[in-house]
């Protein structure tokens, strides 16, 4: 730990930036970098140019659009909460425990990230579906059927969004290390108190950005939802499903809804993420 004040260090870094001649940044890097950025940003512009702005309010305020938006926000919100409640502890165990086979476990958690979502949806259907491993028991004992309900949407979204939260939070936990926790223990704090008063506050920025990513991923979820939950208006037809449907019937409506998703996603990422990343500093 240096003895310079961090505020000073910040100021120094800024002063340094202004005079930095950019070592380690060959000029040719700009070409592929600009291409990459264009690939990400230009389609959104294309979408905006194609939009029928005059009909926009009418298209966005249609009942089906509003219903889908509300459903999307609700399900994504609940999914994010589930990711935090269950993925948080999972991340803590991946980062802190000394279980054998932890590396295999860690790779398995990443599976939804690399799997085509529609495959995930099918896997869920065959597990939780009426004839599935768990679905059968649920149906027999409790009379609960999950597929093609709002619960299925939430489950599908949680499935695809979980890795985002776990990876982000596990990274934060590893970076934070265990030194603060050891100090807290020597100050007389029990494991539970250390977790609440030290570990969680320390990784809060990582937790917030993980939750934001998970929320964004849940909002955009399509493949697993359509395979596992179907497309029933008001119950399982989230915004992405509605866009897909409208594309066949009313292309202007599809574009308008797409733009709405873009705006919601941008809001989530731009407004929440930096605040989360800065966190406690």
């Amino acid at each position: 730990m240096t003895a310079t004040l961090p505020a000073q260090a910040d100021a120094e870094r800024k002063a340094h930036d202004r005079h930095d001649i950019g070592i380690g940044l060959p000029r040719w890097l700009w070409l592929p970098a600009v291409a990459a950025f264009t690939l990400v940003a230009l389609p959104v512009v294309g979408l905006a140019l194609e939009a029928d702005w005059a009909r926009m309010p009418e298209l966005l305020l249609s009942e089906s659009a509003l219903t889908a938006l509300r459903l999307s926000l609700e399900t994504a919100g609940i999914s994010t909460l589930l990711c935090v409640l269950f993925g948080g502890p999972l991340a803590a165990i991946l980062a802190r425990s000394r279980l054998p086979g932890l590396r295999v476990l860690r790779s398995l958690v990443l599976l939804p990230l690399v799997l085509p979502p529609v495959v995930g949806g099918l896997a869920l259907l065959f597990t939780v579906g009426r004839t599935g491993l768990i679905g059968q028991a649920l149906h027999l004992w409790f009379g609960i059927t999950i597929p093609f309900t709002t619960a299925a949407v939430i489950l599908a979204q949680t499935f695809v969004a979980m890795p985002f939260l776990v990876v982000s939070l596990e990274g934060a936990l590893r970076t934070a290390g265990q030194r603060y926790e050891a100090v807290a223990a020597t100050l007389g704090a029990s494991a539970g108190l250390v977790f609440r008063r030290v570990t969680v506050p320390l990784v809060l920025p990582g937790l917030v950005s993980g939750a934001v990513l998970a929320f964004a991923r849940a909002m955009g979820e399509f493949g697993a939802t359509i395979a596992f939950a179907g497309s029933l208006e008001g119950t399982t037809r989230t915004l992405p499903l509605l866009v897909y449907l409208e594309r066949e019937v009313d292309i202007d409506s599809a574009i308008a809804l797409s733009l709405m998703i873009v705006v919601v996603s941008l809001l989530v990422i731009v407004v929440l993420r930096p605040r989360g990343a800065e966190g406690l500093r």
Binding site: L5, A7, A185, T186, L187, G188
Partner: protein, 364 residues
């Protein structure tokens, strides 16, 4: 105040910690030793962060670790405080909340905990930082707050793990003085891990020297540093040390040659002993000197190390001279170095009067 007593073994890939150490209530024990000697491992065992392979730890009368019965009291129920090299203040809490953390964790009411925190912050001269987050404090200020935090739960035993090592040169003396006031003068039982002879002298009643996981030397701080019996203690005390067996008029090294010196009363001829002399007592010559010094040896100059106001010449053994000169230090003035006009690799003569060489009995 509690003392402590421990006898533990703990195997690491690099070394095996195998020590038996005790401290009286109110005693400050300095643990010296090279990197990888097991100092931090020892603190971990005392704090309850590490489980030894065998042995026990008692804090006062209370057993907290005992491998025969499987007892391992967790860190938060030991009453052992820890101040590390980095203060490790919780970054999300203010200085006041950091200091109040321990008392709060013990179940003290918020107001009472904060009152104690304010009092401790005042004692470490950090009262004005109470409302600040650690990021707004300098390294020295953070370390003061961290000391107050470690003392707040009123630990029976305090562990200081190189508490001054990461501080600015300007911040070190003030922190050292503060530690003296808050730890030594307050009769706080403490284990202090340090690399500095000065810290040990100022802060510790007694010194234990660890090397490769074992205690190679221990005793009152002044004695160990004035009359070191282990190479490590000699080096941090800034002294030359040659080991061998005591003989009439000095000491004979294991490969034969003799070092002339004056023996302590307890030195018995034939027993293990060490010859100790300060680098300032070594005279350096280009040609073999004639005269009274009994110890005159050829060496090869290995390195030239500028010190504060002297230059330290480091020797290595020469082909024709004895082996024991390897690593010897001679302190000379910069003017003398200029006059000698030598480069590393040059041949020199070192001369030490026998009266400057103290022969101490070496245990083991």
């Amino acid at each position: 105040m509690t003392g402590f007593e421990l006898a533990v073994k703990l195997h690491r890939p690099e070394f095996t910690l195998d020590v038996a150490i005790a401290a009286e209530p109110g005693e400050v024990l300095a643990v010296l030793g090279p990197n990888g000697a097991g100092k931090s491992t020892l603190l971990g065992v005392l704090a309850g962060l590490l489980r030894p392979d065998s042995g026990y730890v008692r804090l006062g009368e209370r057993p907290v670790t005992d491998t025969t019965s499987g007892l391992l009291v967790p860190p938060h129920r030991r009453g052992v405080g820890l101040l590390a090299q980095q203060g490790l203040l919780f970054p999300h809490l203010t200085a006041l909340a950091n200091v109040a953390f321990g008392p709060r964790a013990q179940g003290m009411r918020k107001a009472a905990a904060e009152e104690r925190a304010r009092r401790l912050l005042a004692e470490v001269d950090a009262a004005e930082f109470a409302g600040r987050k650690p990021a707004k404090l300098s390294g020295g200020q953070q370390q003061r707050v961290a000391l107050a935090r470690a003392l707040a739960p009123e630990p029976g035993v305090m562990l200081l793990d190189e508490p001054l090592a990461a501080l600015d040169v300007d911040a070190t003396p003030a922190m050292r003085a503060l530690l003296r006031r808050m730890i030594r003068d307050a009769k706080q039982t403490t284990v202090l891990v340090t690399h500095s002879a000065l810290d040990a002298l100022v802060l510790a009643d007694r010194v234990v020297v660890l090397t490769a996981g074992r205690v190679v030397e221990q005793g009152p701080t002044r004695d160990v540093l004035a009359r070191p019996r282990s190479p490590f203690a000699a080096r941090i005390a800034g002294l030359n040390l040659v080991s061998g067996r005591a003989c009439e008029g000095g000491l004979r090294t294991d490969d034969g040659p003799m070092v002339f010196g004056r023996g302590d009363a307890d030195v018995v001829a034939g027993d293990r002993a060490v010859a100790v002399f300060p680098p300032s007592s070594v005279a350096v010559h280009i040609e073999r000197p004639d005269g009274s010094p009994r110890n005159v040896v050829p060496v090869v100059l290995a390195a030239i190390e500028p010190r504060a106001d002297v230059v330290r010449l480091r020797a290595s053994a020469s082909a024709e001279g004895p082996e024991w000169v390897d690593g010897l230090a001679a302190d000379v003035t910069p003017a003398a170095v200029a006059e000698l006009n030598v480069e590393p690799g040059a041949g020199l003569w070192f001369a030490v009067k026998a009266t400057e060489v103290a022969i101490h009995a070496a245990g083991g």
